[in-house]
């Protein structure tokens, strides 16, 4: 079998043994209506409304969207306009907490077929929690259900620093197994793989033990970045190549993040939708790395206060890991469903390095997991050559950042690819 290209990174999994701790209830939370890929939600509450934990506060009539639930109990004090970290305008619901955390009434759900599973996933407010935020109910609602034969659970967690999925595996292995079994039953899928990078031997051993006697297999994957990229993990667990323009389901595969599937099983057991998220707080100068469970909508500011971060040292604050995370301009940003880490850098790591001329060393070409040719793509983009960009398949770039990482001339190759994609979209 062909070996995909990739990178050996330093892992910095400093927080792997940090048990999840709960943050004290913040005074206010700001819950965005856009925490997923797809249409934003419209608030279903008004200013002055009393809300409870798990109550629906935002929904959309668009199928490609995910409802939003309240993470606290309290009073709605504002409906604000804001711009998401991805640059989209949306609303957010500001709730002042009452400290009681009164839950909505909820009850367990039993699911036996695809329709019930899809409804449950939607009502649970689930979007891909690994980072992409793809609506889970869309994924599970693939129309040609007979084609599906394999479930791949993405537990690679290949980004440096982040251990929130690892803590999920160590703390809630039974939820994971039960969630997998529910999906397998409803979609009539015979086989499931849990793909874990081999730098997490304890999680591999624990899940192996929990999966004994089931048709779930734990796959220890090489710790090669980006092992957790969807097409990469599908290939490395099933040997199947998802082709251009295809969904994984077209190749018979459903991929779910490990924390997503655990949350699905918690919803089925309790009826309580997704309201909290575990976030790793770490960085190159952070003395006490943590895994913190926060109500969705908690500001990064509150989280860093709780984690005892020396704010003066922070020069760059990332939502997500250092390879694909988003640099935040300020810390007022709320934590959303698909956040799994806040990574902080001081001046030693924060400044982007000086860019020099390409020396055609070919390292970017050697490292691209999609087998693209980043140096050539950059040249084509700089020349505005759309035909060449299409021929070289810039659309297949997954923005994993490996090319930029290895470049000795410190060129922003991955960024150029994203700009090139935007340029091609404008043409159409």
């Amino acid at each position: 079998m062909l070996k995909l290209n990739g990178l050996k990174l330093l892992h910095f999994k400093n927080s792997q043994d940090a048990q999840t701790v709960d943050i004290p209830l913040p005074k206010t939370v700001k819950i965005p209506m856009q925490q997923h890929m797809g249409a934003p939600c419209t608030p279903t509450v008004k200013v002055g409304d009393q809300v409870r934990v798990g109550q629906l506060i935002g929904d959309s009539d668009q199928p490609f969207s995910v409802p939003v639930h309240c993470s606290v109990s309290g009073t709605v004090t504002a409906l604000e306009d804001y711009v998401t970290s991805g640059g989209l305008p949306a609303k957010r619901v500001v709730v002042e907490t009452d400290g009681l955390q009164t839950p909505v009434e909820c009850s367990p759900h039993t699911v036996t077929n695809q329709a019930e599973l899809v409804e449950a996933a939607r009502n649970a407010g689930l979007a891909g929690l690994g980072g992409a935020g793809f609506p889970t109910h869309i994924k599970l609602g693939y129309k040609d259900v007979d084609r599906l034969d394999t479930l791949v659970i993405n537990a690679a967690e290949c980004e440096p620093y982040i251990t929130s999925d690892y803590r999920e595996m160590m703390e809630y292995p039974d939820d994971i197994i039960e969630g997998i079994q529910a999906v397998m039953k409803c979609l009539n899928i015979g086989r499931a793989y849990i793909g874990i990078e081999d730098n997490k031997p304890a999680a591999i051993a624990l899940l192996n033990q929990k999966a004994a006697g089931t048709s779930i297999r734990v796959e220890a994957l090489r710790s090669i970045y980006p092992q957790g990229a969807e097409k990469v993990i599908i290939y490395n667990t099933t040997g199947r190549i998802v082709e251009e323009g295809e969904l994984p389901a077209d190749k018979g595969v459903v991929v779910m993040n490990v924390t997503t599937v655990a949350n699905l099983s918690r919803y089925l057991r309790t009826g309580m939708p997704l309201t909290h998220k575990r976030v790793t707080v770490d960085g190159n100068f952070v003395e006490k790395p943590m895994n913190v469970r926060v109500p969705i909508g908690t500001s990064v500011e509150d989280l860093l206060n709780f984690a005892g971060i020396d704010r003066e040292r922070v020069k760059k604050a990332l939502m997500g890991g250092p390879m694909m995370g988003l640099a935040m301009e300020n810390l007022d940003t709320p934590i959303i469903k698909n956040n799994n880490a806040i990574v902080l850098f001081d001046e030693a790591e924060a400044e982007a390095p000086h860019t020099t001329a390409c020396i055609r060393c070919g390292r970017c070409i050697d490292v691209c997991p999609m087998n693209l040719m980043p140096a050539n793509l950059e040249k084509a983009f700089d020349a505005g050559d759309k035909e060449e960009l299409e021929r070289l398949k810039v659309g297949l770039c997954i923005n994993c950042g490996s090319c930029t990482y290895v470049c000795p001339a410190k060129r922003n190759l991955a960024q150029k690819h994203q700009l090139a994609k935007a340029m091609l979209r404008r043409k159409k």
Binding site: K316, A317, A327, A375, K393
Partner: protein, 314 residues
């Protein structure tokens, strides 16, 4: 409110820089440089120092005149200077060496846009220019002074001797470089190999190019009735295969491209050595393949994972 640095991902970078790569090449050339000083004396070091100094100065002046960002810090001019020195006889007049440096840096490198833009390896192009313009100086291999108390030969390169059927050094001598007359850097295959191994370990070069190049010369010269071991140990083959054919800018960027490039280099080298009027063909071979590199790069493109063929536009 505090504001933080915002930049596109990824937010971490590998420690490797252009400067570090060039430094590794310089380190890798040191054994060969030391060997040449031992064999040829301080004159070899003088040639190297003049070439390095001239290349740095010329690059500095070029960038200054062109009002471009200064690039001497990336050490690539040092590498070019060292490589050119390696390609010159120890007895070369210094002004000839300086003309070579000017051609390499100003004409071949900077006029085409500087590092990463040159169509040919500057040191190779300069050697070929000097060989054509000053063939007398360039083939006058002075008597190596014996610093080891060993007899030395005073004549043309072993390749010329091979061609003339004259007395040639033994294989071991050719390998270690105790006894040879040739350009500064070609003196010791062992020292060049040592540098090559360092570059491979440091992942600066891939072994594929030198291996295919040398193997092609070995097999083809054997097939044509030449002594294959002597062919690979003599002349500029080791220097060319390890340090010049592996130049990033002027060789293809994919592995298959590199294989064909190295095959071509080996083929042309042997054909020139066997049938050409020059005894040595490594420089010409590499120069010709440098020129073919854009075509090879077009020929050998990667097939993206799961990529579908694009319909040809009319």
């Amino acid at each position: 409110m505090n504001s933080y640095i915002v930049s596109p991902s990824p937010h971490i970078r590998s420690g490797r820089t252009t400067r570090r790569i060039m430094l590794d090449v310089i380190i890798a050339l040191c054994p060969a440089l030391i060997a040449s000083i031992v064999i040829f004396g301080w004159r070899a070091l003088l040639v190297a120092a003049v070439c390095v100094g001239s290349c740095i100065l010329i690059e500095y002046l070029c960038r200054l005149v062109m009002k471009k960002e200064q690039t001497i810090g990336d050490l690539s001019a040092v590498v070019t200077g060292l490589l050119l020195a390696m390609n010159l006889p120890a007895s070369v007049p210094l002004w000839v060496a300086m003309i070579g440096c000017f051609f390499a840096i100003a004409v071949v490198k900077q006029l085409f846009g500087g590092i990463g833009q040159n169509f040919a390896n500057p040191a190779i192009a300069a050697r070929v220019l000097l060989l054509m313009s000053f063939s007398g100086y360039m083939t006058n291999f002075s008597t190596p002074q014996s610093y080891l108390g060993v007899d030395t030969v005073a004549s043309a390169t072993p390749l010329v001797q091979l061609a003339n059927g004259g007395d040639v050094p033994t294989l071991l001598q050719m390998f270690l470089g105790v006894k040879a007359s040739c350009a500064v850097g070609e003196v010791s295959a062992a020292a060049l190999l040592l540098g090559g191994i360092y570059l491979v370990i440091r992942r600066v070069i891939k072994p594929i190019t030198p291996l295919v190049f040398i193997a092609t010369v070995f097999l083809l010269s054997g097939a044509l009735g030449m002594d294959p071991v002597k062919q690979i140990l003599s002349g500029g083959l080791m220097l060319g295969a390890i340090f010049m054919a592996t130049d990033y800018t002027t060789s293809p960027s994919t592995n298959w491209g590199k294989v064909v490039f190295a095959l071509g280099c080996g083929l042309i080298t042997v054909l020139i050595r066997k049938y050409g009027s020059y005894p040595e063909g490594v420089s010409y071979a590499i120069l010709l393949m440098n020129i073919l590199t854009p075509q090879l790069d077009k020929l050998f493109v990667h097939k993206p994972l799961g990529g579908k063929k694009v319909e040809k536009h009319a």
